[in-house]
């Protein structure tokens, strides 16, 4: 599996996991001039943007450490771009990092909340 395939595989894995937890997919790989949004999902009345990070093993640190301030800014801009073009009256809005770690004996999955916006 190369890097691209790994990313794709991780996204698929995260999607299945999240679907099981009651999230439904709105759009996948939404592209904006600022970058891509991996998963845009919906749960109850909330809108969730999910950045999926996948890694094999732990020797190069946690996947979440890959999300730098700079990347986060790109994602935030892309989120605003999405919101400007789509109205769906969902509230609140979440930004998550979904972490997928592939270990020899198991696959670890964790959803880390980065931002929560309450629109009133």
């Amino acid at each position: 599996m190369n890097k691209k395939e790994l990313g794709k595989w991780g996204e698929d894995y995260a999607l299945t996991k999240l679907k099981k937890e009651g999230y439904s997919l709105i759009v996948r790989n939404f592209t904006s001039p600022y970058g891509e949004l991996d998963l845009v999902m919906k749960k109850d009345r909330s809108l969730c943007f999910v950045e999926v990070k996948t890694k094999r093993g732990l020797e190069f640190g946690l996947p979440r450490e890959e999300v730098t301030e700079k990347k986060l800014n790109h994602i935030k801009k892309a989120v605003l771009y999405y919101l400007n073009r789509n109205s769906n009256n969902l509230n609140p809005i979440f930004l998550y990092v979904a972490e997928v770690i592939i270990l020899p004996e198991e696959i670890k999955f964790e959803l880390i909340q980065v931002v929560k916006i309450h629109d009133s």
């Binding site: 979440r64 986060l72 880390i112």
Partner: protein
């Protein structure tokens, strides 16, 4: 949950107890320090992260916020590393919070988790009883320094792992302390090696006995520098109080030698290219300068005329008040600066003005310009002025040995003892530290002495300050002769050290 540990940092000569608080929340990994950290403290995040990982301890992946209280005082240096690491481990539940109660942590971490020595441990250890600390934990390399304070128990550790296991099971590692050796004064040059110049030696003896500032004027090769280099050899070792004062300064500056209180008077000889800040102290967080490093010792300024005018003039206030206050945006600091100024110059640019053997090649204009480099106010603050003649061939050929420094030191010690006893109720201990009020109190002068003093003052046109200086020098000369009464011969000798062609 918030975990807390205690540490301390230096602010000039003061010690600031610092409370290190840690909060770790969920979210993307981040590690920030708040509470006015300087660059070195800011960078401790990377050292702590790496040290914890390399010591095989888990580093929490959340948002870590470190707060250093009091938040309005600037924290400097890497000595807070250890307390940050310990606070994180408490938060993670590796150590329980009550195990750090009453303990103070100081130490810099290396990336591998070893503890490195830090500056300023002695002043921190000395101040501990005021801060309700019952034990201090330091890097092994600083252990001897911490123990010098003899105030609270101190424990030394080699790495983070040792500290953690000690906090868990209470068994400290083997404490390695070298035996403390009292150092004796040794100079490369002894008075006995220096030929001739009996008058200059006498002046240095008076200078040492009373702590008087001295200026030697002489042509090249007359032995000025050599004599000055031998000068520390005639100074008595520091008293215990003085020794702690000096060691504190050296500890803050990071110059304290392993586990030794400094008991010999410091001798600093900055090169004449030194900046004003290097001399006086300064920087955005003011550091002690050469004048503070020579506290209770000697500041030797060779080729005084070559120093920057600005640097020289900045000496005025410290010479007068024995302290120096440095104000910067980050705050104002006061450092002690009670030193003996010892300086040497040539009489003119070519160096041979007034020489008995060689002729001077300088024009009067050149000489005037050269001498104007040292201002009146600076000269006025120097108690002893001496023009040294160049050595004659007969003197150089002399085979007999001159008096060794150790003999001179005995006389200096005796004179200082007389002064210490006289001034035991005062805050000072040397004649040079007398002020107009205390001169009045302690001066015991004969009628002839007084007459001679007034005559001399009129003839030399002495300023009020210079007049007092003559009295102080005369008192020291008296002390060297085992007398507390100033007689006319003492005044007479003191006046000769004021008569210098350098003022013409």
């Amino acid at each position: 949950m918030i975990a807390k540990t205690f540490s301390a940092t230096n602010w000039g000569m003061e010690v600031i107890p610092v409370e290190v608080e840690v909060e770790i929340s969920k979210g993307l990994p981040n590690f920030i320090i708040v509470g006015l950290p300087d660059q070195a403290v800011q960078e401790s995040t990377e050292r702590v992260r790496s040290a914890l990982k390399n010591m095989g301890m888990a580093f929490p992946p959340g948002r870590i916020v470190i707060n250093m209280a009091p938040a309005d005082l600037r924290k400097k240096g890497p000595n807070l590393d250890l307390s940050v690491a310990i606070a994180i481990l408490i938060h993670e539940g590796v150590i329980s919070a009550k195990q750090v109660n009453g303990r103070l942590f100081i130490g810099e971490l290396s990336l591998s988790g070893e503890l490195r020595s830090v500056e300023g441990v002695l002043p921190i250890a000395l101040s501990l009883p005021n801060h309700h600390v019952s034990e201090i934990i330091v890097p092994m390399a600083n252990l001897e320094e911490a123990r010098l304070a003899r105030k609270v128990p101190s424990l030394g550790f080699n790495n983070l792992q040792e500290v953690v296991s000690f906090l868990k099971d209470g068994i400290p590692p083997e404490q390695i302390i070298d035996t403390i050796v009292d150092s004796d004064i040794t100079t490369e040059i002894d008075f006995t090696d220096i030929k001739g110049q009996p008058l200059a030696k006498r002046v240095l003896e008076i200078s040492g006995a009373g702590g008087h500032n001295t200026l030697l004027v002489g042509s090249p090769g007359s032995g000025k520098t050599l004599l000055c280099r031998a000068y520390p050899g005639i100074l008595p070792i520091l008293t215990e109080g003085e020794s702690i004062e000096v060691s504190k300064i050296f500890s803050i500056a990071g110059y304290l030698k392993k586990g030794k209180l400094i008991n010999i008077p410091p001798f600093r000889s900055p090169h004449h290219t030194i900046s004003t800040i290097g001399l006086i102290g300064g920087g955005s967080i003011p550091k002690p300068g050469e004048i503070t490093l020579s506290h209770r010792g000697v500041l030797f300024m060779d080729e005084l005329t070559e120093f920057k005018r600005e640097a020289l003039e900045a000496l005025r206030q410290p010479l007068e008040s024995s302290t120096v206050t440095i104000a910067r945006a980050s705050g104002s600091l006061t450092y002690p600066s009670k030193f003996i100024l010892l300086s040497a110059i040539n009489p003119c640019p070519c160096g041979y003005y007034g020489d008995t053997i060689k002729d001077c090649r300088c024009s009067p204009g050149e000489i005037k310009k050269y001498r104007s480099k040292i201002s009146g106010p600076i000269l006025d603050r120097i108690d002893l002025h001496l023009e040294m003649p160049s050595l004659k061939i007969e003197e150089l050929k002399e085979t007999g040995n001159a008096e060794p420094s150790s003999e001179v030191r005995k006389r200096v010690e005796k004179a200082r003892k007389i002064q210490r006893e006289r001034y035991k109720d005062e805050k000072f201990s040397l004649n040079s530290e007398l002020n107009p009020r205390t001169i009045k109190k302690y001066l015991d002068i004969t009628r002839e002495g007084k007459q001679l003093l007034e005559m001399g003052a009129r003839r030399l046109g002495l300023t009020g300050r210079a007049y007092d200086k003559v009295i102080k020098v005369a008192m020291t000369i008296g002390n060297l002769n085992n007398s507390t009464t100033v007689r006319s011969e003492h005044i007479g000798e003191a006046l000769t050290y004021r008569e210098s062609t350098f003022y013409e």
